[in-house]
């Protein structure tokens, strides 16, 4: 027999965990803000070489943005399915989120590879250093998120959709939405800005 206090405790524990994770996300946001500040100060230091205007492709950036935004949406729908206990829908929607995240990552890695291949490496000048650090850090967060997502989905398959898994998915969704919000600013301040 389960008492009302136990369900209350479970909810309170969930709230605490979610809040704790929110605190972590805020510190992560602070780290990104500092990387943005560095980029803002150093983006002009090209040592006479090509600037962002010469190197970036705006259509590519828009594509990446829409892909990540869509993955954030599908993640949200997956979360609704998780709260309703619909395990198959969870797998489908988070599977789509994962696939979109993978495509985003692929596009970004290809952009980096092309830049490096043309000699615009992060040790070239301060602009490129700050660019690769800022966008690369976001990319590392995406990789971590994808790994986390894959492992969580494997657990969902093997252990089923119990309340702990739902909570884990909730944390993962928070993380994924947060990454999309950071990307909005990367899209605006790094890519859009140079073509203004």
């Amino acid at each position: 027999m389960v008492t009302a206090t136990e369900t209350g405790h479970q909810e309170a524990a969930n709230d605490r965990v979610m809040f704790g994770f929110w605190v972590y996300l805020m510190t992560d946001l602070l780290m990104f803000a500092v990387l943005f500040a560095v980029y803002a100060v150093l983006h002009g230091n090209t040592m006479g070489g090509p600037s962002g205007r010469d190197l970036f492709s705006l259509p590519l950036a828009l594509t990446e943005t829409i892909i990540l935004l869509t993955s954030s949406f599908t993640c949200g729908i997956g979360m609704i399915a998780a709260r309703r206990g619909r395990i198959n829908q969870v797998l489908v929607w988070y599977g789509i989120t994962f696939a979109l995240g993978l495509v985003f990552l692929g596009l970004e890695l290809r952009e980096f590879a092309e830049l490096i291949h043309e000699g615009h490496t992060l040790s070239r000048n301060a602009f490129l250093s700050s660019f690769f650090t800022l966008v690369g850090t976001h990319g590392l967060h995406i990789i971590s998120g994808l790994l986390w997502m894959a492992i969580t989905l494997v657990f969902v398959v093997s252990r089923g959709l119990n309340p702990h898994m739902v909570r884990k998915l909730g944390l993962l969704s928070l993380y994924w939405h947060f990454l999309d919000i950071v990307w909005i600013f990367i899209f605006t301040i790094v890519y859009l800005r140079v073509f203004v």
């Binding site: 479970q10 946001l29 100060v41 705006l58 828009l62 605006t188």
Partner: protein, 245 residues
């Protein structure tokens, strides 16, 4: 084994009940609905595509465009925070909001402060060639008996007009300590760089000049010689000026 299985099943049932509880008072509150995610998604799409087309079509330009796209970014962030992250809903929203607001405050101080400090550091501790332009701006004609090269008396003003695919005049003859004003006459950004593309040199400590309609840039010609310049946005547009000592 059977007991633990039974317990976990009851745990699942109980939190199934608590999530039924939750759905009663929280489903349209703390967690999202398909409708709210869809609205957030569509709004975010709009707030992504509109600034993109504003930049690509160059219908707005300059600082107005910059402020606009930043504004769109901030609004889209708020949209996603409300519709995807559900900030402000749930039983104890104040903690999350308070933490978010304090983080934003810290960010404003750290980022704004850094930009402020670095800008002034650059101005006050610039390398030698930039100090030349600083000396000119500040009117410092000599330091410890040595002349800085800054002009004490300003001569005539010459104008160069860039716009609609042309630079006029393309060759300017000036004298030492005259001034040269670059004027933009169309709606796009022009970036006057000294030297020929892709080289960007400096003239008397002045680097790239960003021109917009209504915002001209003037340099004091305190270095004699002949110098070329080009519009980095349209590198085929070149010109040169000669400064006679």
């Amino acid at each position: 084994m059977a007991i633990t299985a039974k317990l976990t099943r009851m745990e699942w049932v109980s939190s199934g009940m608590s999530s039924v509880h939750s759905t009663d008072h929280q489903s349209n509150g703390e967690h999202g609905t398909v409708m709210s995610y869809t609205i957030g998604f569509i709004l975010s799409l709009v707030f992504t595509v509109v600034p993109y087309y504003l930049v690509v079509s160059k219908s707005v330009s300059g600082n107005a465009l910059l402020a606009t796209i930043l504004g769109f970014a901030v609004v889209q962030m708020i949209i996603q925070i409300l519709f995807f992250l559900h900030l402000g809903r749930g039983p104890k929203p104040l903690y999350n909001i308070a933490f978010f607001v304090s983080t934003v405050g810290i960010i404003l101080v750290v980022v704004g402060g850094s930009l402020f400090i670095m800008r002034h550091l650059h101005y006050n501790m610039a390398p030698t060639e930039v100090s030349r332009s600083v000396a000119e701006k500040e009117g410092i004609y000599q330091v410890e008996g040595k002349k800085t090269g800054a002009c004490q008396e300003i001569g005539a003003n010459h104008k160069v007009i860039i716009g609609n695919g042309a630079i006029s005049p393309r060759q300017i003859k000036t004298s030492l300590c005259d001034t040269l004003t670059f004027i933009s006459q169309d709606d796009i950004l022009h970036e006057i760089a000294f030297g020929l593309h892709p080289n960007h040199e400096t003239y008397a400590g002045e680097g790239d000049l960003h021109l917009r309609t209504g915002r001209n840039k003037t340099i004091t010609l305190n270095q004699s010689g002949t110098y070329q310049f080009h519009d980095h946005v349209n590198p085929e547009l070149t010109g040169d000026f000669t400064v006679k000592p």
